[in-house]
Amino acid sequence: MQCQICKKNEATIHLTEISDGIRTEMHFCELCAQEQGIAVKSQVPINELLSSLLAAQPADDELAGEPEQKHACPRCGFTLEQFRKEAVLGCPYDYEVFDKILLPLIEKAHGGKTTHRGKVPSKTSVDTKKQIELMTLRQQLEAAVQSEDYELAAELRDQISRLE
């Protein structure tokens, strides 16, 4: 489809406007869309994404009743205020201390994923490895139920109970 303004480039931006019950469709190329003041960015840099996610989080003082979120990490003294400024954490333990705040952010940054899959250090204890396997199986079980694959779900359920 051609851009309806320059009638030259391929239209890559498609807008549907509904006003007073009348539906209007518009098709622009990126260049013309920009000239029309329709904000288009080819790529959102990761730090920009992160700061916008952080800005959407409630500030420390809005989190009354959740004292653990208001305090500094007992191990490194890091606070959420610093995280907002620097976009990096203070120590590995911060992932536990600030879990409630970080979880939605992690979810958004990783396309909805919140649990690790993949390499595990070989030094990891047998218990931890079992814990990881259980988490992976539970995720697979959830997906199987969602896709109504009950045969697979039953198999996964049995595997989980054997491990537990």
Partner: protein
């Protein structure tokens, strides 16, 4: 080892070899890791950073990599050397101009580097020419295992490898593929490519030059999601789906140029050659832009048997940069050499001292002229 030992040559991953190397310049995988017993760098004192640096440097220097390895103390290196390491893709800009004690371990053949105290305690990377992601993954996994047997990485069962920034969490893997897409640009389809990559949650940057500007039609494509998807799945999505599709689109665009837009193609190639052969002042950006068109012409001849008047004149070229005896024309190696050796820090390091921008432009034009003109 001195940097001048490598600065007069291109690195292995840019020598034009490897699968699909006419379009895929190189494949890179990097892993972000942190030591369990230390805070992340933003909370470390200088003394703690030095301790981490020494510990990781000793560990890395004792690795058996099948190549000589050397260490550069980045915070103490001259500014020009740091620019050179960035141009060479051996360290990041952030590492070159960051703060505090930090260093880099480099394998002499440049397939492996390890940045110590960048954003994370350790960032290791493996680089290979063409599309070789599985090979990169195998090698980096092996190196990671060797390091891990000597140190304790910060790891959580739920979040995987713990990184200073939550965007690298989980596998800590960043897969990057460098692509040369001049035909998509010439046929006005590059925006479509950029939009498609955004929809797939991928990041695109320029390979050379500052920031996101893709100088010389070189693009670097990387994954953004590092959590909840295994290393193998991330790599195979790139290697089996994303990259072959992009290569196919670029090939279609090259065919389209040959079938319908020969004049556009020949005009770009001929103008590029005329300017490069005659210019007396040329900026780094302009050189990348023009060399990109010559690279396209030579690759279309070698890989698609293309033979337009402009491509023919490149291929019968027998100047000092030509390889008339072997391939009958200007070689891709010559073009790749010109791409890399005319970058600002390469120019200055090989010249032996810092030069102001105008003198760099004069020297760059002279090097290019002497490679492309028969009579110089």
């Amino acid at each position: 080892m001195k940097l001048t030992d490598i600065s007069s040559n291109i690195n292995e991953w840019f020598d034009g070899s490897g699968p699909l190397a006419d379009i895929v310049i190189s494949s890179r995988i990097r892993l972000a890791r942190n030591l369990a017993e230390y805070k992340f760098l933003s909370r470390c004192s200088t003394a703690e950073k030095t301790e981490i640096l020494n510990k990781l440097r000793d560990t890395l220097m004792s690795l058996e990599l099948g190549d000589k390895i050397f260490y550069i103390s980045v915070d103490q290196a001259p500014v020009l050397d740091r620019h050179f390491l960035v141009e060479r893709h051996l360290i990041s800009r952030h590492h070159a101009f960051g703060k505090g004690p930090r260093g880099v371990v480099i394998a002499q053949r440049e397939f492996f580097t390890a940045m110590i105290n960048e954003e994370d305690h350790l960032r290791i990377q493996v680089l290979k020419g063409g599309l070789q992601l599985s090979q990169c993954r195998e090698q980096i996994n092996h190196i990671d295992d060797m390091i891990e047997s000597k140190v304790n990485y910060a790891f959580s069962p739920r979040y995987g490898y713990l990184t200073a920034c939550p965007t690298n969490l989980g596998t800590g893997i960043r897969v990057s593929v460098m692509l040369h897409l001049p035909a998509l640009k010439m046929t006005g389809q590059i925006e479509k490519f950029l939009n498609a990559t955004r929809d797939m949650n991928l990041a695109v940057r320029g390979l050379f030059g500052e920031g996101t500007e893709a100088a010389g039609d070189f693009y670097q494509l990387s994954n953004q999601v590092t959590l909840g998807v295994s290393e193998a799945d991330i790599v195979s999505r790139f290697e089996d789906t994303i990259i072959p599709e992009i290569v196919e689109y670029e090939m279609q665009a090259r065919n389209q140029l040959l079938l319908k837009e020969i004049d556009v193609l020949d005009d770009k190639i001929s103008r590029a050659m005329a300017l490069l052969k005659n210019a007396h002042l040329i900026s780094s950006q302009e050189a990348l832009f023009l060399l990109s068109h010559l690279r396209l012409g030579i690759n279309m001849h070698e890989h698609m048997g293309a033979s337009t008047p402009a491509i023919e004149s490149l291929c019968t070229f027998s100047g000092p940069g030509g390889d008339a005896g072997k391939t009958g024309g200007l070689s891709i190696t010559t073009i790749n050499r010109l791409f890399m050796l005319t970058l600002p820090a390469h120019l200055q390091l090989n010249y032996g001292k810092p030069l102001d921008p105008t003198h760099r432009d004069v020297l760059r034009a002279k090097i290019i002229r002497s490679a492309l003109n028969q009579d110089m």
